[in-house]
């Protein structure tokens, strides 16, 4: 597991949005985002980042405390120690008060053309 310097999340909300602050879980610790732009309301785009500076074991986006949050697309930009920054995209998912979604993915394995 690499040490995460910082990460930035962009969430495109679908038809059903939410007005609560967006939280993430890093190694099972629930935290709010910094540098928040936009919102998680219907059809809107939410952007937030966090300077972690710690080793990642798990990273999830937390569902709302009430109601449902229909997500169309999640884009996460990860900057990890000794790795090139990389971007991962996830598709549609609906979150509620009982769910969170994994947004962690290990850095890609080096591949080259031969």
């Amino acid at each position: 597991m690499p040490r995460v310097n910082t990460f930035k999340v962009k969430v495109q909300t679908g038809q059903q949005g939410m007005s609560e602050p967006v939280h993430f879980n890093f190694n099972n610790h629930k935290l709010p985002f910094d540098n928040v732009e936009g919102s998680a309301e219907s059809g809107k785009v939410f952007e937030g980042s966090f300077d972690v500076n710690s080793f990642a074991h798990s990273l999830t986006l937390v569902g709302p405390e009430s109601g449902k949050w229909e997500i169309e697309k999640i884009t996460i930009e990860l900057d990890c120690e000794n790795e090139k920054p990389y971007t991962v995209q996830f598709g549609a998912v609906t979150l509620d008060d009982k769910t969170e979604v994994n947004i962690w993915q290990d850095p890609p394995i080096l591949a080259f053309d031969v």
Partner: protein, 265 residues
């Protein structure tokens, strides 16, 4: 606690610890509602206690490895993190529906792809599956795959250029049914593999058979064990291939990060 502190030494400190939020919520509800003390069943959690959430796993959207509609043969090499093997992905099918493990030069007869690969001095084994070839090398001390990978790329292109059967016709016509593979593999798991790993509290289960490829899962003491890769490659693979020589790819779908009781923890 030291473990938690260690994780958070580099993190921002503005965020409140989760425990204090819970305590505050409990306090607030007591003040507002002023409930009469009523006996609660001991096993029931307080109604305002945060529920444990389930973590949803959704696949990452992968952008195609190769540009679409390319007439050129494109090959991408991806060495494994341990450096013992390299996966070559080609932008066209090499063997559809099944897979084949070539254990050495003798097994390559009449398979133009394998013949081309085993002409390279350092190639030890080759596994062909769909549009991929996984190669292991003889010299385990070398970690830089670039020189050999380039030779393998040329060999794959040469074989594709020949046009005749990449995999020998006798191999394809003699492939066993999925049922035969399932029975054979399950027997090895029950009689040989599981009794062996049981000493470490581990177990292996057969998840799926597709064509002659099998998918297994490691559980118990094997899940998350630091020696799982060694057990898989030197123990399980060897046992499977010895007992069921026609088995092709052996996929491991174990989530080793979720292991709770690994033997070598």
């Amino acid at each position: 606690m030291n473990f938690i502190k260690r994780f958070f030494t580099g993190m921002k400190q503005e965020a409140e610890p989760v425990t204090s939020v819970i305590a505050e919520e409990v306090e607030k509800s007591t003040v507002v509602s002023q409930p009469e003390p009523q006996p609660q069943p001991e096993t029931e959690a307080p109604s305002n206690f945060p529920l444990e959430r389930s973590v949803l796993q959704i696949p990452a959207i992968s952008e195609g490895v190769f540009p679409k509609d390319s007439d050129e043969v494109l090959i991408k090499a991806q060495p494994s993190p341990t450096g013992d093997q390299c996966l070559f992905t080609v932008n066209r099918p090499l063997m559809t529906g099944n897979s084949w493990f070539f254990s050495g030069f003798e097994s390559a007869m009449e398979s133009s792809l394998a013949e081309a690969l085993f002409c390279l001095d350092d190639v030890e084994t080759a596994l062909v599956c769909e549009s991929t070839v996984t190669v292991t090398r003889k010299d385990k001390t070398l970690v830089d795959w670039l020189p050999l990978a380039k030779e393998v790329g040329t060999a794959i292109r040469d074989a594709l250029g020949v046009g005749k059967g990449l995999i020998a016709e006798k191999i394809i016509s003699n492939l066993p049914s999925e049922e035969e593979i399932r029975e054979g593999i399950q027997k090895v798991i029950d009689t040989e593999v599981n009794p062996g790993v049981a000493g470490h509290g581990g177990n292996i289960s057969l998840l799926a058979v597709k064509g002659n490829s099998v998918t297994i899962q490691m559980g118990g003491g094997c899940q998350g064990c630091s020696a799982a890769d060694l057990t898989l490659k030197q123990g399980i693979h060897t046992s499977f291939r010895k007992a069921v020589p026609m088995v092709g790819a052996i996929f491991d779908e174990t989530d080793h990060t979720a292991g709770l009781n690994p033997y070598f923890s």
